[in-house]
């Protein structure tokens, strides 16, 4: 199973993205990060650590569960529906720049759901999107602002992101048809 990103590569990509977020927003006073559960959350946490090192500012981090906003959940066969977990955004998102963080960008449907969910929490000044991997095949007009790595894939393949915090190891794998 080919490894498309190893620990070193992931770490460098996230450091670069942190610099890009810092540069793009000309300071971080009104920026907050929101990770999409589950793997977006540790990535957001790492970006916040990097941003603190770069700017000296503390960045708030929230966690968003989008299960209740999915467009496929009620069509899913029993047993496939994901577990609903808590959304934890312990700060106001009104008039702030929210950087949404997810592991993989594919059809764009998760991002669509995340945008809907965020809207229920307030009216941010802007929402930007960070993904560790963009694997293409968009079904909605959605584009990431910051990308760790573009990975060309076919629809039959699957991209697996593993993170230290949840899986004990940092790596991105591309799995074939079988």
């Amino acid at each position: 199973m080919p490894v498309v990103m190893d620990a070193e590569r992931i770490s460098r990509a996230l450091t670069r993205i942190s610099h890009e977020i810092h540069e793009h927003n000309r300071g971080l006073s009104d920026v907050a990060l929101v990770g999409v559960r589950s793997r977006g959350v540790p990535i957001a946490q790492r970006l916040a650590d990097d941003l603190r090192r770069i700017s000296g500012e503390d960045i708030q981090v929230g966690a968003l569960d989008i299960t209740l906003y999915r467009d496929d959940i009620m069509g899913a066969a029993a047993g496939v529906a994901p577990l609903v977990r808590k959304t934890e955004i312990p700060f106001s998102i009104d008039r702030r720049t929210i950087v949404l963080v997810d592991d993989v960008l594919y059809t764009g449907r998760t991002t669509r759901a995340a945008l809907d969910a965020l809207t229920d929490f307030g009216r941010p000044k802007a929402i930007q999107l960070v993904v560790l991997v963009d694997r293409g095949h968009r079904e909605l007009p959605i584009k990431a602002d910051f990308v760790g790595k573009n990975v060309p894939t076919s629809r039959q393949e699957s991209v697996q992101v593993r993170l230290r915090e949840l899986d004990g190891v940092d790596e991105v794998l591309l799995q074939g048809k079988d």
């Binding site: 209740l68 906003y69 029993a78 496939v80 577990l83 809907d116």
Partner: protein, 331 residues
């Protein structure tokens, strides 16, 4: 497809209920009960937002069919349905065809013809929900059937206990009151024993149903013994409307012998919580100081009821989409 990897941990956690209906706790495994409670945690967070609504059940219709008076349960279900964006409608029996002599089955088949996704049913006859589940395509949610079960009440009680005590296993739970007529008791005993709590039940001998000992609980007629060292005291309502059978001499005597007073509560653990499914009869089964005291979680139970019912509706809606019901897809 994940199976090939040695790093992947064993079986994936359960994320859906195995049955289409919620007829009783008897049908649920411990794992399924915990799934409902975990899902309810997320639903509780929705209720704490400024905008207390998610689009999950958009386009689904839920009928609340209540053949018995109910304030708490019906409002709780209705709020839960609305927070999930379902279209809800309440059939008020006093103004329905039932007063013209229509049977339960005919009423249900007529409602069914309008393709609801779910029917929440409260009925005075035990087994009414099972009956409907056999003839309806809609998922049936039992909101209390006769003296049989009231599963969502037991689930919200368990949620409330877990919220306070962080666990259910190994807790001593004393249930005191009318055991004979109580569907809340049956559901709670089934649930608590499945999750490993030590359950004591206490009532006058006339209000203890036959076969109680076979349910895996300790039975006593002495309140002090039931309450001794308890982590949770759960009171059951003395159903005044069912007390024509001279089960005890007077309400006052009942209160003296079985009523929960501050004095009796002192025998329990210092951090005991007091529960009651409502509506409470002050000065019959429970003293006002206890019902309104700092150990009382009676209003937490009501608040948690909405989150637990959202979890049940959500899990049943997800599970039911699998096959048999053509209802949603045709529409």
């Amino acid at each position: 497809m994940d199976v090939a990897s040695p790093r992947q941990v064993a079986a994936p956690p359960l994320t859906a209920l195995r049955q289409k209906h919620l007829l009783g706790i008897a049908d649920l495994s411990a794992e399924e009960i915990l799934l409902v409670l975990d899902t309810a945690e997320a639903m509780k967070e929705v209720g704490q937002r400024t905008i207390k609504k998610v689009p999950t059940l958009r386009g689904r219709t839920v009928i609340n069919l209540f053949f018995e008076p109910s304030t708490r349960t019906r409002t709780s279900f209705e709020i839960a349905e609305k927070r999930l964006s379902a279209d809800t409608l309440n059939v008020a029996i006093a103004s329905s065809s039932v007063v013209k002599g229509e049977t339960l089955v005919d009423t249900a088949m007529n409602l069914e013809a309008m393709s609801p996704s779910m029917i929440v049913l409260r009925h005075a006859s035990s087994g009414a929900c099972h009956l409907l589940s056999r003839i309806c395509k809609a998922a049936i949610v039992n909101a209390g059937d006769g003296m049989h079960e009231h599963p969502t009440q037991a689930l919200l009680d368990a949620f409330t206990i877990r919220e306070r005590k962080r666990r259910l296993t190994g807790l001593k739970v004393a249930i005191v009151g009318d055991l004979l007529h109580s569907r809340v008791l049956r559901s709670n005993v089934l649930l608590l024993t499945k999750l490993g709590a030590e359950v004591w039940v206490c009532a006058p001998a006339t209000l203890i149903p036959a076969g109680m000992c076979q349910m895996g609980v300790r039975v006593t007629t002495r309140v002090d013994e039931a309450v001794e060292g308890a982590d949770v005291i759960m009171m059951l309502r003395i159903q005044l409307e069912r007390m024509q059978g001279a089960y005890f001499p007077s309400q006052r005597e009942y209160f003296t012998t079985f009523g929960m007073t501050e004095q009796r509560v002192r025998r329990a653990k210092p951090d005991v919580i007091i529960m009651h499914p409502g509506p409470i009869n002050r000065g019959v089964e429970i003293a006002s100081e206890v019902a309104d005291g700092s150990a009382s979680v009676i209003l937490d139970q009501v608040a948690n009821g909405v989150a637990v019912r959202m979890a049940v509706l959500f899990l049943l809606a997800g599970g039911a989409a699998e096959g048999a019901d053509g209802t949603e897809k045709v529409a």
